[in-house]
Subunit: 109 residues, 2 copies
Amino acid sequence: MKQYQHPTVDQISLTCVLHALSDPVRLNYVQCLAKLTSEQPCGAIPTPVAKSTMSHHLRVLREAGIIHIRTEGTQSMTSLRLHDLEEKFPGVLDSVLKAANSTTSVEEV
Amino acid sequence: MKQYQHPTVDQISLTCVLHALSDPVRLNYVQCLAKLTSEQPCGAIPTPVAKSTMSHHLRVLREAGIIHIRTEGTQSMTSLRLHDLEEKFPGVLDSVLKAANSTTSVEEV
């Protein structure tokens, strides 16, 4: 079973988080995941890009410490690391998500 | 006299702002500018990169709508567009700067 590597809270870097969120496809995915609140299969959130491209985007989000991915059977389940991010950088993800929701970023994807 | 182009508040994009802040040199520059509070000559803030590289970074920050640059004699004066950013994306720059100040981002440059 595939095991995914994740940075610890200490290893999460602000510039990596900002870079990961600076792509419209990735930001849109994080917005959707935040709205759904619970863990989701990777494929449950519709994206405008090919599966291989989305795998790259999910890797960037995982390596930045924004999402957690675990294998369950044949599925990869993703969840937001809201608690870890809030602990490390209070208010950053929250304000970015509020800003994203208030603009047309979702439509821009 | 060189005239710099700046995006209007409406034109400022969240993903462009996040991208501009995701580089350690640019984030450090914005941190310094925020601490100094007033308009500064471009060269007043020490940076670890060549002048030409810094010109690129300043252009990215200006085009993202994070800083304003104007020419005064032979100098280029830079200031943060705090009010514009707070109007467009409330809390984003503030939380990012707080996060940056609480980590070792400045030393990592």
